[in-house]
């Protein structure tokens, strides 16, 4: 056994850190999550919407934050920082400093009574990007995790002047503690993940753009302004005159992509184009009359269906894009407007215009604590201010990994995949010590509660200090509830969530022999797991519980109507009582999981996934249709900005071949996939020898079938005659230097048949951007220049997607030797056969005239497309694809490498064309996600699932169609009726896969499917009890 520590330190509690932490605990490691702010959630919690689906950011993030908070294997150290790191790979000693909140975390109920009474006002809110303010006693935002207040030590009257202490006397929970001092915590871990995220300057920093003007906002400030929980409640207002802005300018690349100015960042922040397009769309949705202008250097929309999002903003929402930078911003004091002077590149002129509000999409950069950490680890950073490649490799050797914005600029789905990838890499290193520090909670055996047992309900009504008790007459509520049928005992208390209350609940259950329990307090979204756990601790099934919300949805929203609020509390508890008496114990069934994985596709993604899984000790079946492994990657001459080269790939393949737990099936085709998570039966056929079949069982499946570059019909008459001088980009990469015909002039045409927009139209033009062509062109330029340094190379482009650090640098270098020429529509490029050479004529944007020249060879960036068998495979796996035929993940933002169907994962070009670094990240991530399902050898089903009444079921299959998780199958049974044999169809719920949404129950035409815990009977009873209770009849009964 190795002597590595089985715990991991994760620094940074944004979405990258959250994902890494959650995955690590699933893989069997304890996590210390250190966050310098008082809450986790990071930047994503501040966002209003996310692109390109316009999801509500908090809606998708908050459940993950709560999951972290409730996870017994994550020790959350918020408002803390790492002071030092000592040790080596597998054995680190960490010193963490916990800053004093002056509020005791275990006592604070998050009621806000301290903030209400605090006399200090006007401290700028960091969460609202300084657009609102709070007092010395405050919480970052309402859904903060942990939901604990804190006192600003620089502003508190007591801490600075020895007077006040109003909060202390107002806190019913006695949680205020002014004696707190910074506390040093020592922890020991085996690996470290750094996920420190990014920062953005406030607009004041950009004085040349009138950043001090209240109507000039940073993009984060604008995000807060748009947000429904922001400073204006989502109303779009100017900050000085409180009027609606009618014309808004979004300024891109402020303080970035600038190699000359010392205050500017040299790189592209990579997410601003998309985030500005999103903000403009949301603005238009708020008020369609508002004009939105986006001033850009060029639009970089690098990601799945991102380019279509930009087109949608123009065509559907009327967002205007101006290609050119803003030279100056002047304030017009009389009109209150902001006057812009800017260059319009498309027209070749300088123009002026007036705006009501400006949004600066200014540079994003790693925060200060990042550099302290790099110093602490003694690694250097590159010219862009990010950890160097050498540093990164050095860190990985020491089990230290970087994710999110801390390794380089990236958006949320890439950060999430990278979080999972870090967890997978750590699992490779520490797999021998898995589960050593994991807390497995043990409970006493469950008390059987049968359907015929008389319900005995206990009710606890919470006063939540004065939060409920100050409005709702809780005593009256308790008296009323105690009089209702089946209620054996009801009482009230100050704080139901405190630890002494948990003991009281247990006492009540024992004392009154209760078999159902109701707590009427706050929201089940945060507190239901706590109470369920409590009743389980005395042997009651956790599903025999309901939490009735009489705070967030009652006392807090009817503060001036105590009588009505009291009546509402009674009504709600009565409704839920009608449900509670009908609750049944539910079981989370354990399903055995085969500790083996099928990896489909032996390209770079498949190789990495298979290797990572094998390193974690799992059996792997790697199926590839070609005779050899390696895929597209082997054809690449050089992979310039990733730490992997051709030889490394060959080495990985050879390494994989020697593994005893890896079965490589080349020349093979999958012909059948049967089963569900944990238990898939796979049949594979040898393509050359179809009689040779292999069958095996796996628990999980990884899809890494990749993609390829398509051919074009365009200029067919001309190009068809000279196939030896026309190449796709991939073909040029793959060809040997010596096989290339001699050339003086070469032309690379980007965006051939892709990126459809208002001027680039025509059949056969794909709507999307293939993402990788601009970067592949850089490699091809290098190749062509190596062969003929004197050659004249033309690159005909539309917009260059060089948001990666090294691509930007290489492009700046290469453009000294190569002419980058911009065109508008592919239809404007005319190619004629000039005998020996091609004659090219196109309309140049910028010069605004036709340009003609001759070229010896042509290189075309045609669209990247999914593998040819994608559709067939999708059908077999029962997973969806996009309109372009790529596989569709479970959620584009937060589940980028999962399918909605449990147990199946996705990575590489099958998901979307992507650069190799991202493919590798996804491949590690997919391996980690698959490993999570397999480490325990079993998965637990949801307790709340659907079930079928077979007698009623007519086998129509509607439920199967509506189920988004393929959790319902229609089974066919032969049955003998008299002389005849008939086939009877019945729906069957696969418990392991059911997520418990209940859509099938609502859709079933004969009422044969029902949802546990939300049965038709239970809900109907709740509805009936809303209007009141017929107690008389009950007494008669």
């Amino acid at each position: 056994m190795s002597d590595f520590h089985s715990s991991v330190l994760v620094i940074g509690g944004g979405i990258a850190g959250i994902q890494t932490s959650l995955d690590l605990t699933e893989l069997g490691f304890k996590v210390y999550l250190v966050e310098k702010k008082p809450t986790i959630g990071g930047t994503m919690a501040q966002l209003d919407k996310t692109f390109p689906t316009l999801d509500c950011s908090l809606c998708i993030l908050a459940p993950k934050m709560v999951e972290v908070y409730r996870n017994p294997n994550i020790e959350l150290l918020t408002y803390s920082y790492v002071k030092n790191i000592k040790g080596s790979a597998g054995n680190y000693s960490i010193k963490v400093i916990r800053k004093p909140r002056y509020v005791q975390e275990d006592l604070c109920k998050g009621c806000g009574d301290c903030a209400t009474i605090c006399p200090v006002k006007g401290i700028p809110s960091e969460f609202d990007a300084h657009l609102s303010s709070h007092g010395a006693a405050h919480i970052s935002f309402p859904s903060s995790v942990p939901p604990v207040y804190l006192i600003d030590e620089n502003k508190c009257l007591y801490l600075n002047h020895g007077i006040c202490q109003l909060c202390k006397s107002n806190c019913k929970a006695d949680a205020i503690d002014f004696s707190q001092k910074p506390k040093e915590v020592k922890i020991k871990v085996g690996a470290i993940v750094i996920a420190t995220g990014y920062e953005q300057e406030y607009p004041e920093f950009y004085s040349q753009l009138s950043g001090q003007n209240p109507n000039v906002l940073s993009s984060m400030q604008y995000e807060r302004l748009l947000s429904a929980n922001g400073p204006t409640g989502g109303e779009l207002l100017r900050f000085d005159d409180k009027k609606h802005p009618h014309k808004i300018g979004f300024l891109q690349c402020v303080g970035s992509r600038d190699f000359h100015h010392p205050d500017c960042k040299k790189y592209c922040s990579s997410i601003c184009c998309m985030s500005s397009a999103k903000q403009a769309i949301v603005t238009k949705e708020h008020s369609p009359d508002t004009e939105c202008y986006i001033f850009n250097t060029e639009i970089r929309a690098k990601g799945k269906n991102f380019y279509e999002f930009i087109v949608k903003s123009k065509e559907e929402y009327g967002v205007k894009y101006v290609n050119g930078s803003v030279a100056s911003v002047k304030e017009d004091n009389s009109s209150g407007k902001l006057r812009l002077a800017y260059e319009n590149i498309d027209k070749g002129v300088v123009e002026n215009d007036e705006f009501d509000m400006l949004v600066l999409a200014s540079a994003l950069f790693p925060n200060k604590s990042y550099y302290k950490l790099l110093d602490c680890l003694d690694v250097d950073y590159n010219e862009f201010g990010y950890i160097s490649e050498k540093g990164l490799a050095q860190c990985e050797d020491g089990f230290i990994f970087f994710t999110g914005y801390s390794s380089k600029p990236k958006d949320i789905p890439v950060a999430v995949a990278e979080g999972s990838a870090c967890a997978s890499k750590i699992s490779e290193k520490l797999h021998e010590v898995r589960f050593e520090n994991i807390k497995e909670v043990t409970f006493p055996p469950e008390i059987p509660v049968l359907a015929e047992d008389e319900p005995r309900v206990g009710v606890l009504v919470c006063q939540c200090g004065i939060n409920i008790g100050g409005v709702v007459n809780t005593t009256e509520v308790v008296d009323y509830i105690a009089s209702l049928p089946y209620v054996v005992h009801a009482e009230e208390n100050m704080y139901s969530c405190s630890s002494d209350s948990q003991e009281r609940i247990k006492e009540m259950i024992k004392e009154y022999n209760l078999n159902r329990f109701i707590v009427a307090s706050c929201t089940p979204r945060t507190h239901e797991p706590l109470f369920r756990n409590t009743i389980r601790e005395v042997g009651l099934n956790p599903f025999l519980f309901e939490l009735v919300n009489i705070r967030d949805q009652d006392s807090w929203v009817h503060q001036s109507e105590p009588e009505k609020a009291t009546q509402k509390a009674k009504d709600l508890i009565r409704m839920y009582l009608a449900k509670v008496v009908n609750l049944r114990p539910l079981e989370k069934i354990k399903v055995e999981v085969e500790k083996a994985s099928l990896v489909i596709g032996g390209g770079i993604a498949g190789i990495i996934s298979a290797t990572s899984l094998a390193n974690q000790g799992f059996e792997v079946y790697l199926v590839e249709k070609n005779p050899n492994l390696g895929g597209n990657a082997l054809e690449f001459v050089d992979l310039f900005d990733i730490p992997m080269h051709e030889n490394d790939i060959l080495k990985s393949i050879n390494d994989l071949k020697t593994r005893s737990n890896v079965h490589i099936l080349t020349n093979s085709k999958i012909i059948d996939i049967n089963g569900f998570v944990g238990n898939y039966k796979i049949t594979v056929e040898n393509i050359e020898n179809p009689s040779e079949m292999e069958e095996f069982k796996v628990g999980t499946i990884i899809v890494s079938t990749g993609g390829s570059q398509s051919k074009t019909e365009r200029w067919g008459n001309v190009l068809g005659k000279h196939p030896d001088r026309v190449f796709t980009q991939n073909q040029l990469e793959a060809i040997n230097d010596t096989e290339l015909p001699g050339f003086k002039d070469a032309t690379i045409i980007l965006c051939v048949d892709q990126r459809k927009n208002e001027i680039n139209l025509g059949d056969g033009i794909k709507t999307y951007c293939s993402n990788i062509c601009c970067k592949v062109a850089l490699k091809n330029i290098e190749k062509l220049l190596k062969i003929n340094p004197e050659a004249h190379i033309h690159v005909l482009y539309r917009e260059l997607q060089y948001s990666d650090l090294n691509a930007e640098r290489l492009w700046r270098d290469l453009r000294k030797y190569v002419s980058f020429e911009r065109y508008g529509s592919i239809n404007d490029i005319d190619i004629k056969d000039n005998g020996e050479r091609f004659h090219i004529q196109y309309n140049n944007i910028g010069a605004n005239c036709d340009i003609e020249y001759d070229s010896d060879i042509l290189v075309l960036a045609t669209p990247e497309v999914p593998g040819e068998k994608t559709k067939e495979l999708a059908k077999m796996l029962k997973v969806p694809t996009t309109k372009d035929g790529f596989f569709l993940e479970a959620h584009v933002k937060l589940r980028p490498i999962d399918f909605a169907t449990e147990g199946i994962f996705l990575c590489g070009g099958a998901h979307w064309p992507k650069w190799i670094d991202e493919t590798i990240t996804q491949a590690y991530g997919a391996a980690g996600r698959a490993a999570m399902m397999m480490v325990k050898g079993e998965v637990e089903t949801e307790g709340i699932t659907s079930y079928v009444n077979e007698e009623k079921c007519i086998g129509c299959g509607v439920c199967e169609t509506v189920c988004p998780y393929q959790a319902i199958e229609i089974l066919e049974n032969s049955k003998k009726v008299g002389l005849y044999e008939i086939v009877e169809k019945k729906a069957h719920v696969i418990n392991a896969v059911c997520k418990g949404c209940g859509a099938c129950a609502a859709e079933c035409p004969v009422g044969a499917i029902n949802q546990n815990h939300f049965t038709k009977f239970q809900i109907k009873k709740q509805i009936e009890l809303l209007t009141g209770i017929d107690t008389q009849r009950c007494e008669v009964d």
Partner: protein, 154 residues
């Protein structure tokens, strides 16, 4: 409108049943509370995991019992925690709208709205507006029926 009639309408306190999905609209209702946005004490929220669970018979049951208004809220289309659950709700509820007048119930007593977890303010506004609408329509013509707590012994 006569003064007496107007007074009568404002005195009427509607009883409204609101279905909220656990992930978006219930969270939006919570946020209204956390932000202390005040709204009329007319609604009683019934939590379901997904708006897709709500079957038409629930709405009819509510009206049958004399409830004055029924509201269904879910995640915005595309945001559904269960991917497509709310799309089925949308389709189902189109039918309800056309069915209600046929059985003598004003279709405006029923409403389907999308509320996200960050739309606390919108939630409060929705309740204010819907309550007012129901007040204008007047009390349900169906006599209120009191419920009975019963056990499902099947």
């Amino acid at each position: 409108m006569s003064k007496a009639k107007a007074k009568k309408k404002s005195e009427f306190e509607p009883e409204i049943l609101a279905f909220c999905c656990n992930w978006c609209s219930y969270a939006g209702a919570d946020l209204a509370g956390v932000s202390r946005f005040q709204y009329p004490a007319s609604i009683r929220i019934l939590r379901v995991m997904c708006s897709g669970r709500v079957q038409p018979s629930f709405i009819l049951d509510a009206f049958k019992n004399g409830i004055d208004g029924v509201l269904i809220t879910g995640c915005h289309i595309g945001d559904c925690h269960y991917i497509t659950g709310n799309e089925y709700t949308r389709e189902r509820m189109k039918h309800i709208k056309t069915l209600l007048p046929k059985i003598g119930i004003n279709p405006d007593r029923f409403r389907l709205e999308w509320i996200s977890a960050s739309e606390g303010k919108q939630f409060a506004e929705l309740i204010r507006e819907f309550t007012e609408n129901i007040q204008n329509i007047g009390p349900s013509k169906i006599t209120k029926k009191l419920g009975k707590i019963e056990l499902d012994l099947k």
